[in-house]
Symmetry: C2
Subunit: 87 residues, 2 copies
DNA sequence: TTCCCTATATATAAATC
DNA sequence: TGATTTATATATAGGGA
């Protein structure tokens, strides 16, 4: 998309990668919300950025709570999620 | 998108809603995978369809295992997820 | 319901500020 | 870092088989 076709491989330039991450994360959130509403589904998304920063979101139809543990540095992590449907 | 602009509300026609769900789920999977590769991030997605069917997927950079419990009919559910980064 | 097709709506890369 | 602006790549609604 956008001006140029993009190869599917890691964007090496740091600033560009971060910008793309922010844009696509918000795009994913939008798609998630649309799918949830249009199709009466519940969707939860967990994201770990390349710097290890974590973010989560879910469709408006439910409350979601996420708990994370990353005991062995970052190669293994554990997540406990609680979903409470609003309906 | 597509031929007509779509209102952001539940698609009432059953067959149409199911078709849209399948299409958008695969779209979401694609976006998830792209984000994961382009931005060197890890992403996990959990989906509950309107019929209660569950599906999960994650970027190629990690192995993800999902365990679900829905003790109180379907209004509350609990998920335990294990992520193992391949790198 | 599952593939194609294709006209449009959207997402978004790059550029500029 | 953000915001805004395009030009272009993609996603996908609706329809037909």
């Amino acid at each position: 998309m956008g001006r140029a076709k993009l190869n599917l491989k890691k964007i090496e330039h740091n600033a560009t990668r971060h910008v793309t991450f922010a844009k696509r994360k918000s795009g994913l959130r939008k798609k998630t919300n649309q799918l949830s509403i249009l199709c009466d589904a519940d969707v939860a998304v967990m994201l770990f950025s390349s710097t290890g920063r974590l973010s989560c979101f879910s469709g408006d139809k439910m409350y979601a709570f996420f708990f994370f543990f990353a005991p062995l540095n970052l190669s293994l992590s554990l997540s406990l999620s609680l979903f409470l449907l609003k309906s």
